[in-house]
Assembly symmetry: C2
Homo-oligomer: 421 residues x 2
């Protein structure tokens, strides 16, 4: 079962997918040369949007949840890629401490932690789960709806090391995006910390990521002789917004207006009949909090109290002062009438699977990853590494290959971003 | 469907499999440290024998055929491992010339070549197939029984490069074991030649491989606190045998006798009721030509003409003067009464799958890979990297994990062997 791509305008995308397919050996060679120079993050997931005329990443998560949503057939692929990642990043490590998010009552998330733990264990690591949550003061067993269980243990700092009772790990794997800041407990450890602390939302900015993505997309577009816009959404950053204090609205409105005009021009160039839109969201943070779909600059001026509250604060109560204005990319994939958005998973620089977020209650121009929002995950049935050059560019193996390529471009951008290059 | 392990004496093996299972993190850590120091061959397959009381490699093939016998579900695993291998050995390479064996009428073998070509292409390489066969004087299309087809092209030497018409490859991947010697065409090329020429049977010796395996098995046995004999067959080498001239028979008989006594002693120690046997085979070469099962030293003396002819010459008409005497390992796996022998496939240092050779016409003490011999391949249904510590040591995922571990020990021995260390 694969979502149907419903758009009157598949021409440019089919042509993009065909270019990607034709250039497969050149593309893989290009990636190989890039990964010789840049170290891929340990793991990542990338949200893509497929508009038929455009295929682009809209979010890159360096602390991916959702491993439980992958096809179980891909487990060996995850295990093998994890072995590669460990070899490159911390070959001597044998004991891994996994630090999850603090939401210990979200069973969807906890099933992700269980899936991740299984992958790491199958890769031959001793894994225990250490919680930063003040609620975890003793080893706590949590039973999961799928019959699995997890034990969360309280972490302690001993000198320069983070430990559990009877467990001195060689490496700390964060599955916690540090939205609330970097706890003192994690600072200046003499253990491997993966990903590095500056990958957390305490310091990371979406605008830095997409600045790096601009460079990657431009290089890649040159390789394929395509317009980089076909794989790259416009973005701009507003650094001094105070939604509660009603500061910076004019600056934001000006950016929105300019970007809507830029998109309209591209839509004219490619004959796209849809109405341009932009997404305004916090420059730091995740979980789709503080996100607006905007089709006219006036919509970001004179926000009412409810809208201001929604935009002003994201996860862990962090106030929003920096926002990113990103070109909205329509998602034209649907399954039984519900909107579908692909999410691609990578470990080391390998694509290890993906799934669709399938949504009945959202529009094609809305963010599909919002708090409290329920989606049905639809695991990819085939791997993203098996393009079939004898088949049409939009058959599932070829569509998935294109997804894997664009997701890896975002991964490469994340590598540059973390280097600060 | 998994072959049944039929033996009255599963005690020691279950204990070995349990040791392997319990030590999984230590084993993977140990392998990681070894692969930091030694480069795995590009690819390899290892024939294992599972006697219930003993699990050991009996042959390591550095030009593996049989990729067509693997479970198609493992294709993504093969592709990912190939990407790793290319990154390590020849990252800049984009065009691969695959050189197969010359038996262009063996459709089983040609299906292997097709499977291998698919793996390499999915990994993003431009692949063409160059034949050394004098019969191939123009591009020759061969249709395969499974509906696929292959094109073999004649290779040409231009200066220091091996080329096809319109194709100047960066790397030459040999799937030809060079039993007939190293053709001048392949010598002193300025392209990557994978595996190196000295991995071919023109120079390789089984006794060098098993000497390296002795060291690997001893190290590994120390790690697990087990008797290395449980994973290592005895072997000895006789360097000056002339079967036709009836020279060296006494030396051979003396080695055989001594080894049968050594095995008998081990069998007494472990309470094994079976009769010891040894395998006498050519020290160089493949395809199970020139192989004898021997249970008494007198059997290698006074061979009749037919036996002498069988032993004296192997593939490509090479005469045998060096033989290896190897402890015979019973295979106690069977499927519907037929004897089964596992073969494990590796690319880079990753186990990517395996299958059983299932044989109706052979005994538990016979070689299952002989010329003209027909076996039914039974692909492994699950990967070799998914041990289940909560299940019994002999459940399929755990048995396959043990197979993957022992096969990787043989792979490590091959790495040492190729280094000449």
């Amino acid at each position: 079962m694969v979502p149907h791509l419903t758009t009157a305008l598949t021409g440019p995308l089919l042509s993009l997918e065909q270019s990607i397919l034709d250039a497969q050996p050149r593309i893989e060679h290009w990636f190989r040369s890039r990964w010789q120079k840049h170290r891929a993050p340990f793991y990542a997931s990338v949200d893509l949007r497929n508009a038929g005329f455009k295929l682009a990443p809209v979010d890159t998560n360096l602390f991916p949840g959702g491993f439980n949503n992958l096809n179980p057939d891909f487990l060996p692929l995850c295990v093998q890629a994890t072995m590669s990642a460990v070899e490159k990043i911390c070959p001597v490590a044998q004991r891994f401490l996994l630090i999850p998010e603090n939401h210990t009552r979200n069973t969807f998330y906890l099933q992700n932690v269980a899936a991740l733990t299984t992958i790491l264990r199958q890769a031959g690591l001793n894994v225990r789960i250490g919680s930063l949550s003040p609620e975890i003061i003793a080893p706590t067993r949590l039973d999961l709806p799928d019959g699995n269980m997890l034990t969360l243990e309280p972490v302690r700092r001993v000198g320069d090391r983070l430990v559990l009772d009877g467990f001195d790990p060689c490496a700390i794997l964060l599955n916690n995006d540090l939205s609330g800041g970097i706890p003192a407990l994690l600072q200046d450890l003499d253990q491997f910390v993966i990903p590095p602390l500056h990958a957390g939302w305490a310091t990371r900015r979406k605008s830095h990521h997409f600045a790096a993505y601009n460079r990657v997309a431009d290089d890649f577009a040159k390789l394929l002789h395509i317009d980089p816009w076909l794989i790259n959404p416009f973005f701009a950053q507003c650094g001094h917004v105070d939604f509660q204090g009603r500061q910076g609205e004019e600056c934001l409105a000006a950016y929105v207006d300019e970007m809507l005009q830029d998109i309209a021009e591209k839509y004219r160039e490619y004959g796209v009949a849809q109405e341009p839109f932009v997404i305004v969201k916090a420059d730091a943070g995740t979980y789709g909090m503080g996100i607006m779909t905007v089709k006219d600059a006036s919509e970001v001026q004179g926000l009412n109290r409810k809208q201001r509250n929604k935009m002003a604060v994201i996860k862990e109560g962090q106030e929003v002062h920096e926002v990113i204005i990103q070109e909205g990319v329509y998602t034209f994939e649907s399954l039984n009438g519900a909107v579908a958005e692909p999410v691609i998973y990578m470990i080391d620089h390998f694509v290890v699977g993906g799934f669709y977020r399938v949504h009945t209650g959202r529009g094609q121009d809305e963010n599909l990853n919002a708090p409290g929002m329920h989606f049905e995950p639809l695991a990819f049935q085939t791997a993203c590494t098996l393009p079939d050059s004898s088949a049409a560019p939009d058959t599932p193996p070829n569509r998935f290959y294109a997804y894997g390529v664009v997701a890896r471009l975002a991964l490469l951008a994340a590598a540059l971003e973390l280097e600060g290059a």
